[in-house]
Symmetry: C2
């Protein structure tokens, strides 16, 4: 019998384990054009928190009592779809479970880029595309720019750091604690900001970037965003990717430097990675070349076993991961 994580109640504030249940479930029958996949790698991502609320957004909310969804990589173990054979490795969105039965059109065979399978949930997957298009297309970052990225030890942020360095930018990354900051520096960041050490973030950022910042890649919101307002150079561009600081609190965020938007003519642009799906080939070509040239390092925080997925997910909000957070089934 297959097993899947179900959302049993909608969290108010920080989710707790009793919002979720790991239960048996019966995958649909394998109809024409469908494949059965044994999942090997399951993704947890901050954006999933939003799907636990019953509000209209850019992705529909998870249904109560139903298996949840999310990025997954697995192996085809049965196929009734042309072009898919047993043993094929595929990327799809029927995660949070050990076995999935899906239409072949909802799966994508892993490109042959010579990287580990789970990279397609990280720097060559949705987090990587988020980093790539957010930095280069949304913020329009270019060689010579000084880029500040928050949550720089996370899946998206660590990829931003490496793309920015590969493209000739100066990079300042923020992360929580000396270990993570050390890893961000090892990825090539020119300076790091430890948001957990004492003192106001705005001062730490302006010290780390005495020349000011031209681009801010926001994964955090709140105090990080306010510090970026303060440190921004005229005409700086902000790629607004996430505000993990606010996902659970529901509290208003306060900004002391927001008037910089006007005085410095800042541009802020929110984006969703799915806006860039039509440019996936460009992403694989450029990132594949960077990976082949040894310019992309990956780190993963792996939880073993489907029963650990909720722990992995909750860890995203307490800084529990360095690099991409994954579950290995």
């Amino acid at each position: 019998m297959a097993r899947a994580w179900h959302l049993m109640s909608r969290p108010s504030g920080m989710p707790t384990p009793d919002n979720f249940a790991l239960d048996d479930y019966a995958p649909p029958a394998l109809g024409d054009g469908m494949i059965r996949v044994r999942n090997a790698w399951l993704s947890v991502d901050p954006y999933m928190r939003g799907r636990m609320n019953d509000v209209k957004s850019y992705v529909p909310p998870f249904a109560l009592g139903e298996p949840m969804q999310g990025g997954a990589v697995g192996e085809v173990i049965e196929s009734r779809a042309e072009g898919f054979a047993e043993g094929d490795k595929v990327l799809h969105m029927a995660g949070w479970r050990d076995e999935a039965v899906i239409a072949a059109g909802e799966a994508q065979k892993l490109p042959a880029l010579g990287v580990p399978d789970q990279a397609f949930l990280g720097y060559l997957g949705m987090p990587g595309m988020t980093a790539y298009f957010g930095l280069l297309a949304v913020a329009g970052a270019k060689a010579g720019d000084t880029v500040f990225v928050s949550a720089a030890a996370g899946a998206v942020g660590s990829t931003v750091v490496q793309i920015a360095k590969a493209k000739g930018m100066t990079v300042i990354g923020s992360a929580g604690g000396a270990d993570k900051c050390g890893w961000v520096a090892a990825l090539g960041a020119d300076a790091t900001v430890d948001y957990k050490s004492g003192g106001p973030l705005v001062r730490k950022l302006t010290e780390a970037a005495p020349q000011g910042i031209d681009v801010y890649f926001d994964n955090v919101g709140g105090e990080h965003l306010d510090a970026a307002f303060a440190a921004a150079n005229p005409n700086a561009r902000f790629a607004m990717c996430g505000m993990i600081e606010g996902y659970n609190s529901g509290e208003p965020m306060a900004f002391r430097y927001i008037m910089s938007i006007i005085a410095k003519r800042l541009m802020l642009k929110g984006f969703i990675v799915t806006d860039f799906m039509s440019r996936m080939a460009e992403f694989y070509a450029d990132m594949g070349a960077m990976a082949a040239a040894g310019k992309l390092r990956s780190e993963e925080t792996v939880h073993d076993g489907l029963d650990r997925q909720v722990d992995a997910f909750l860890g995203l909000f307490s800084g529990g991961n360095t690099g991409k957070m994954l579950v290995h089934v």
Copy 2:
């Protein structure tokens, strides 16, 4: 002897009359290429508050003990500059005084558009250009869009309302009190929001714009900006022109709906009207045609006498003006 307002001390928070002094001053000698102007109309504008602080910004701070500057319209009474003759009407930045001696290159003869002279301090001047380029160039507003503009009874906001209507947009304007809202409606606004009446602004705005807003023209910041986040449609564009709510308080602004920037892919862009000086001919041509077609109404709140200028300026922060606030010397 000429007289000018001098900044005597830098205000902390809301300015008070004792920050300023109206004193005699000696204009410079009338050198070659210079003109002497008797000022007739003096402008007060919210942005001037920023120049009273000793901080680097897009315009330098006023110097303590020196005559202040600002938009003014007057008549040339003596000329040593080619192309300028006694009786010419000119627009220049040596305001806050009754008589100015300036280089001819710092003055602009009033275009013959058949409007009152003081219009060049209002809807055909800096506030008008701010409205025009903020709405059409920065926010990219177009026919069919629903536009929300705050401080819609002010010099900039009332011009935004009228340009938007002339260009086929739906307009919601906010203002303080029933009288001002009535005037905004008379300008053509499809709906108004009285921010001084009871209840949360976000509810009033979403009721006034059940279809959501595609463009927000921000003159206020704070709760108005937060309401715009809540009411925004996907891909809405925000022209960030001013945040008068924060000019004096120095307090952080709190936002409950700022995560909409990401979920709705919003674009926020700060701008300064001087960025568009090279497009002044386009502005005069389009706005002149609108004025000739009777599509632009103006209202002015006029204080008589140079000695009233500080009162006029302070009135900007207490809702003392409907339309453009002016001093008539």
